[in-house]
Amino acid sequence: MTEKEKYLTSLFGLKNLHQLEIYLENGGYEAAKKALLEMKPTDILAEVKAANLRGRGGAGFPAGVKWGFVPKETDKPKYLCVNADEGEPGTFKDKYIMSHNPHLLLEGIIITAYCVGIHHAFIYIRGEYEMIAQRLEKAIAEAKKKGFLGQNILHSQFDLEVIVHRGAGAYICGEETALLESLEGKRGHPRLKPPFPASVGLFNCPTVINNVETIANVPFIILKGAEWFTRVGLPKDGGTRIFGVSGPVKKPGIYELPLGTSLKELIFTYAGGMREGKKLKAVIPGGLSAPILTAEEIDITLDFESLVNAGSMLGSGAVIVIDQETSMLDVLRVVSKFYAHESCGQCTPCRIGVSWINKIVNRLAQGGGQPDDLETIARLAAAIKGKTLCPLGDAAAMPILAIVEKFKDELLGSTKH
């Protein structure tokens, strides 16, 4: 696989790509034209399904299947919510898409909305990305002026409004139903599923929620076809992923590579390997919620199935590299602190269990640990896993379980004997 298979980020180096004229000069909005003027919504849906475009926010659910769940016959308005919350620690890819190529995202939104019959789209962007939100607003204004948004887009008789909506600092609002609650002006408390957002979503109307990168892939699928998409990636997992690498590597940053790239290659070739004097200890492969891999376990390809088989997950494609000098107790401390801080507090196991684990870990970190503390942590994490109202419980429990299991000896050393 070579760099010339990059398509999503290939223009990112261009100056002022975020401006409409530059985007247009470089083939912008051709996919939207094709979709709206030459294709039927059912054609688009078939193409996206055949492309096996999986969600790039973390859950990896096939986008085409999700769109297909929206009822065709309904007298309620339908909505599209673009999940730009990007809260999964280690993840920073959507920031690049939105700041370097906002019109690409808008183009993807137009095609998606046209396919599903949606006339109102919201971009739910994390509150901290205020500057990026402003850039998106400018792009929307430009697009509207040129007839790519608003009424009767490109004379296709299709209307679409896009609204940028800022969050205000809550990781849980990256979870799709909490996002809906937040958009509706409430606390980000996840909802019970079923019903699923495709039938009961925003304002109780059918709603599609997709990650920024997922939507940004759609124009390319339209232009170059599903077959090409699966060839670039894997047959069941089409396209590239924008991986993020952080930690003590020489070149932290985003790397657009096909699905199926080896994790070793990503770290040691593309990201330049470990910084001077640092040795690899462990890798978190898909954002903080993805269970950790030891240095011995990184001989693995970056795709959905391989990582699940290894007991972890592809998640948001955010690779965090950990070096030998880092204490795993410190990692555990940061992990449990994060989830305790971000728990919305609705359901019993997460609200109390994650905080309990956090208290034990803090006690450990301050030197007050006892040998059975690790057992307790593992027991509590197992009691949280699969029992919570939303996936945040698993997102907390599984990484904690993995750290405690795989680094037991090191952690035991920090307890009193």
Binding site: A170, R187, L192, G345, C347, T348, P349, K359, I360, R363
Partner: protein, 519 residues
């Protein structure tokens, strides 16, 4: 109907039911904390999990709808462990307040711990310290350390009273129930929050530290303070062998009634009950030489019957005035009609009720008596009381007094009762009216009788006797029955009616509106 298998037994249940409701109908109890039938499922306590064959994770019984062929296990190993887990989490951050918590004995945490817990605490950390005496408004006190964040209180105020005073503030483990500064709970349904709270987080000052729940027995009754006639439970002390208590009734709770009050009680009805015991009239008193002296029922009822017979034979019934109220049972109103309209003609019948109050647009009506509808439906057409009318030549005035809400409405009688007429006073409470009376007969309150009322919407509320009669007091119905029989004008009628249910049978034969409630 859908066919399911639950805990090994095949069953057919109504379509569209949740597993929780379906199990309930089959007599299987599934523990739950945040769920309440009045609200849509919340799904946050995680206590009601069950195992469904073919599904990898445990599911919530409160929100999962039964489907054809579902195989459900409510007591499998995984389920029992999950329940224990929820309890462990809740109790980890829960204070050991049982020795001084009002909810002890009726607390869901205690009950479920006994069934699904029975473990030793493994929590070695510092528990979250929170405020333990927050005044939420009205008579409510919140102890945040005990709160399990089931949010029933928040949802009640959002969905039932639609006043939304309470909310969940902060996030995660720091979440707490609170109100917007300066806007505490302030509506006529606040008392329901203490009942709704599954633990001792929200307590009621009316009940706080008064007694232990296991000393209380409950009897179903009705509330007579407005024309809604809500269903209630009266909680009364079962007594100590060697200690006399200064109270018998400790609490009024709501009793579920889908037709009338659902699961709720208004604060007015909930907290107004001291009239049940305070200042009761308990002795038959007759005036001799200007003073009231005790006497017995048989002699006085005998004399009364003779007096009425005399008036009847002399055809002077127009000199009799009867002032009654609409807090009497429908059966008693039937007897009043029998005696003072059908048997004794031309008796002057007046209705004198406590002044109307304000309704609240929900349960509380503006009427302050329960059975005004009963008066209308029985066919009594009394004249509205007027002091001017009474000052004509009445030789005998019989007053059925109603005093739980005070005696303001009898003010006007003051001057009228000083005339020549003999006054017979039937009253449950001591009152200045006794000084004007020649005969005082102590009567019962609705909660001490068996009978029925018809509420403002025409709902017939039948009830049993819930509280014992104080002293010598008897019901107006019993008194009218005895007097009527002794009067002898329609002897056979009074022979047939041995108890209020017999009267109700007659009522349901005569009136179509009573037919539905026969059973």
């Amino acid at each position: 109907m859908v066919k399911i298998k639950i805990d090994g037994q095949q069953a057919e249940v109504k379509e569209g039911l949740t597993i929780l409701k379906a199990a309930e109908a089959l007599g299987i109890e599934i523990p739950h904390l945040c769920f309440h039938p009045a609200f849509s499922p919340e799904g946050s306590c995680r206590m009601c999990v069950v195992e469904i064959q073919g599904r990898p994770k445990l599911e919530l019984a409160c929100s999962t709808i039964v489907q054809e062929g579902m195989v459900i296990f409510t007591q499998s190993q995984a389920v029992v462990e999950a329940r224990r887990s929820v309890l462990e989490f809740l109790l980890a951050e829960h204070p050991l307040d049982c020795p001084l918590c009002d909810k002890a004995g009726e607390c869901k945490l205690q009950d479920y711990y006994e069934l699904y817990g029975l473990f030793d605490s493994q929590f070695k950390e510092l528990k979250e310290k929170r405020a333990k005496r927050v005044h939420l408004g009205r008579k409510l006190i919140l102890d945040r350390e005990r709160c399990i964040l089931c949010t029933r209180c928040v949802r009640f105020l959002k969905e039932v009273t639609k006043t939304g005073e309470l909310g969940v503030f902060q996030r995660g483990i720091h979440s707490e129930i609170d109100y917007f500064p300066g806007q505490p709970v302030n509506n006529n349904y606040s008392g329901n929050l203490a009942e709704l709270c599954p633990v001792g987080a929200i307590t009621d000052q009316d009940f706080r530290f008064q007694t232990r729940s296991w000393f209380l027995n409950s009897k179903p009754a009705i509330c007579p303070l407005c024309s809604r006639v809500c269903s209630v439970y009266i909680d009364y002390h079962r007594g100590f062998p060697r200690v006399e208590l200064d109270k018998y009734v400790y609490r009024i709770r709501a009793r579920e009634n889908p037709q009338i009050n659902n699961y709720w009680l208004c604060d007015f009805g909930r907290y107004t009950y001291s009239y049940l015991e305070k200042n009761r009239a308990t002795q038959v008193l007759v005036r001799e030489n200007g003073h009231l002296v005790e006497d017995d029922w048989p002699s006085q009822l005998d004399l009364l019957a003779k007096k009425l017979k005399e008036i009847y034979l002399k055809k002077r019934t127009s000199q009799v005035g009867v002032i009654f109220n609409s807090a009497l049972t429908t059966e008693e109103l039937y007897l009043i009609k029998k005696l003072f309209v059908e048997e004794l003609p031309e008796v002057n019948l007046y209705l004198l009720d406590p002044e109307e109050g304000e309704g609240d647009g929900f349960l509380l009506t503006s009427s302050r008596t329960p059975n005004l509808k009963g008066v209308e439906l029985i066919g009594l057409q009394p004249r509205r009381f007027s002091a001017a009318e009474l000052s004509q030549k009445l030789k005998l005035i019989i007053i059925f007094a109603y005093l739980p809400l005070g005696d303001n409405h009898y003010k006007e009688l003051n001057s009228v009762l000083d005339r020549e007429a003999k006054v017979i006073l039937l009253t449950a409470h001591q009152t200045w009216l006794m000084e004007k009376a020649d005969l005082v007969l102590p009567t019962l309150l609705p909660q001490e009788k068996e009978g029925s009322m018809v509420n403002v919407d025409g709902q017939v509320q039948r009830f049993e006797k819930a509280l014992p009669a104080p002293g010598q007091a008897r019901s107006e119905g019993e008194i009218l029955g005895i007097v009527g029989r002794q009067l002898g004008i329609d002897f056979s009628f009074y022979q047939e009616i041995k108890k209020p249910a017999d009267i109700f049978d007659k009522i349901s034969q005569e009136f179509s509106w009573a037919e539905v409630s026969r059973d």
